[in-house]
C-alpha cells in the first residue's frame, strides 16, 4: 500500500528524517514509535503531502508522492498532532465543512456527518462550539473529521494524547473497527497502545528507522519480556 524509499527531510543542518525506507501493507495498522523529536511527525507530514521531502520518494496506492500528490490527497487523510479544529464552529459545522471539501451532494454530506457523529458519540455535543469541548472530545472530533473523506490511508499523529483511560480504550476499539476499511499509520508515546493496536511497529531514533517488526519479534530480538523494555533498549535509553 505504501512503499517508502530513502525518504529524507533536512532542516538546515538537522536531519529530521534520515533516508527512511519502509513498506506498509494494505489493511494493517502500523505504529511509528520514537522519543520526542525522533522524526515521527515529520515523516507523517511528508507522507501526507504537507511537507516536501528533501530527497527520496514514496508510493501510496501506486501514486508517486513527488509527482502525483493531487491523486494521493484524494485517498488519504490525517488527524494532526495538534487538535486541528475550527474553534468557533460547532461540532456539526466542523464536520460539515470538511465534508463539503470532498463532496458536492448535500445529502451525502449530511449522511456522512450523521453517521460519524454517531460512531464517535458526538451527537450530544453536535451543537456545541468546538472550542468549548473537553480536550478528549476535541481529539475525537479531530479524528472524526479525518474520516469524513473515507480515506484509504489514515494518518493519526498521537490520536490518544490527553485522553482518559476509558476514552482511550474506546478509541482503540474504534480504530480497530476502522482497520477493516483502511490502512492506518499512527504514532504514539503509549507502549500499551502500540501493543494493543499495531500489527507492526517501527521505531525511529534521531530520524533513522532502526527496527521494524511485530511486538513479538521486537521482544525476541532484544531479549526483553516487556515491550516497554524492548523499546527502551532499541530507542537507546540507558536505565
Amino acid at each position: 500500500m505504501i512503499s517508502i524509499k530513502n525518504l529524507t527531510k533536512k532542516f538546515k543542518d538537522l536531519c529530521a528524517v534520515d533516508s527512511l525506507s519502509l513498506d506498509i501493507y494494505e489493511g494493517e495498522i502500523f505504529a511509528l514509535l520514537g522519543v520526542n523529536g525522533a522524526g515521527k511527525t515529520t515523516t507523517i507530514r511528508m507522507l501526507s503531502c504537507i511537507s516536501r521531502p528533501t530527497s527520496g520518494n514514496a508510493e501510496i496506492d501506486g501514486f508517486s508522492l513527488k509527482k502525483q500528490s493531487a491523486k494521493i490527497k484524494e485517498i488519504i487523510n490525517i488527524s494532526p498532532q495538534e487538535t486541528a479544529i475550527a474553534g468557533n464552529l460547532t461540532v456539526r459545522e466542523n464536520m460539515e465543512f470538511i465534508a463539503s471539501l470532498y463532496y458536492k451532494d448535500k445529502k451525502i454530506i449530511e449522511e456522512k456527518v450523521k453517521a460519524l457523529l454517531k460512531d464517535f458519540s458526538l451527537e450530544d455535543v453536535a451543537k456545541k462550539k468546538a472550542k468549548l469541548l473537553s480536550g478528549g472530545m476535541q481529539r475525537r472530533l479531530s479524528i472524526a473529521m479525518a474520516l469524513v473523506s473515507a480515506p484509504k490511508v489514515l494518518f493519526l499523529d498521537e490520536p490518544t494524547l490527553g485522553l482518559d483511560v476509558i476514552a482511550r480504550k474506546e478509541l482503540w476499539k474504534q480504530i480497530e473497527e476502522l482497520k477493516k476499511k483502511m490502512t492506518i499509520i499512527l504514532t504514539t508515546h503509549y507502549m500499551e497502545e502500540a501493543e494493543a493496536l499495531a500489527d507492526r511497529i517501527g521505531i525511529m531514533v534521531k530520524g533513522k528507522l532502526v527496527e521494524v517488526g511485530t511486538v513479538a519479534e521486537l521482544k525476541a530480538k532484544t531479549g526483553e519480556e516487556k515491550f516497554e523494555d524492548a523499546f527502551i533498549k532499541i530507542a537507546g535509553g540507558k536505565l
Binding site: I50, Q81, E82, L89
Partner: protein, 251 residues
C-alpha cells in the same frame, strides 16, 4: 464550491468572536461619533481642525476600520496555521489559491459593512450625499485590499502571539502617518513627505478629495495607493503560498 464553504467557515469564525465585532464595527463608529460630538460642541469654527470635518472623518474612520481587517485576517490565518487546521486544508483537495481566496473573500464583506456603518453615522453629522459618495467608496477599495494583504502577510509570517503586536504596529502607523487626528498640512516638511510616501495618508486623501470635489493633483495619491496595494498583495500571496508549502511547524 469548496472556496465558498471555506468563506462561510471563516466568516463564522470571525463573527462569532465578540471581540472582532467590537473592534471591526463598533469601535470606529463610536470613535467617529464621540469625536464629532466633542468637536461640534467645543470648537467654534471647524476650519481650525479640518481633520474633523465630517468628510475627512468619514474617510479616516473607513481606513481606520480597515486596519482591524489586518488584525483579524492575521489572527485567523495564524491560528489556522498553529492549530494545524491549515494542514488539514492542505491535505484536502483544496488548492492553496482557493484557501487564500477563502480568507480574502470572507473579509471583504466585513469591510463593506464597516463602510456602510460609518457612512450611516456620518450622515447624522451632516455628510452631504451626492453621487460622488459612490466614487469615494470605490476609492476606498485599494486601501481595503491593501490592509487585507497586510493581514495575510502578518498572519503567514507571525506566530499567534506576535500577530497582535505586529498588527497594532500597523494600526498605529496608519493612525499617525495617515493624519487621522491631526492635520498633516501643519506638520513639517520631512514628516509630510514620509506620510505621502506611505499609503496611509494618500488612502484617506483620495475619498476625501472626491467628496469635497477637490481632486486636483490626487492622481499621485491614487497611484501611490494602487502601487502599494499591488505590491503588498503580490508579496502576501507569494509568502502565503511559500509558507503553506514549507515546513513551518506549529510551535
Amino acid at each position: 464550491m469548496r472556496t465558498l464553504a471555506f468563506v462561510r467557515r471563516n466568516l463564522k469564525e470571525i463573527l462569532r468572536d465578540p471581540l472582532s465585532l467590537v473592534f471591526c464595527f463598533a469601535f470606529p463608529v463610536l470613535l467617529l461619533v464621540i469625536m464629532e460630538l466633542i468637536i461640534t460642541s467645543t470648537v467654534p469654527d471647524i476650519s481650525y481642525v479640518p481633520q474633523f470635518k465630517i468628510e475627512n472623518m468619514f474617510s479616516s474612520m473607513c481606513v481606520f476600520s480597515f486596519t482591524f481587517l489586518t488584525l483579524f485576517t492575521a489572527m485567523l490565518i495564524s491560528k489556522d496555521r498553529n492549530s494545524s487546521f491549515q494542514a488539514r486544508l492542505n491535505v484536502s483537495p483544496m488548492k492553496s489559491v482557493e484557501i487564500l481566496f477563502g480568507y480574502i473573500l470572507a473579509v471583504l464583506p466585513l469591510a463593506i459593512i464597516q463602510i456602510i456603518l460609518i457612512f450611516c453615522a456620518s450622515l447624522c453629522f451632516g455628510l452631504v450625499v451626492k453621487w460622488n459618495i459612490l466614487l469615494a467608496v470605490l476609492a476606498l477599495f485599494p486601501s481595503m485590499i491593501l490592509f487585507i494583504g497586510l493581514g495575510i502577510l502578518v498572519g503567514s509570517l507571525c506566530g499567534e502571539k506576535a500577530v497582535g503586536g505586529m498588527s497594532s504596529v500597523i494600526i498605529n502607523l496608519a493612525v499617525f502617518l495617515g493624519g487621522m487626528f491631526f492635520p498633516l498640512e501643519t506638520m513639517n516638511n520631512a514628516f509630510t513627505v514620509i506620510c505621502d510616501i506611505l499609503p496611509f495618508a494618500p488612502g484617506i486623501k483620495i475619498p476625501k478629495a472626491i467628496i469635497t470635489e477637490n481632486t486636483e493633483g490626487i492622481w499621485i495619491a491614487v497611484l501611490t495607493v494602487i502601487l502599494y496595494m499591488l505590491v503588498i498583495l503580490g508579496i502576501s500571496i507569494l509568502v502565503f503560498q511559500l509558507k503553506s508549502k514549507s515546513d513551518k511547524k506549529a510551535h
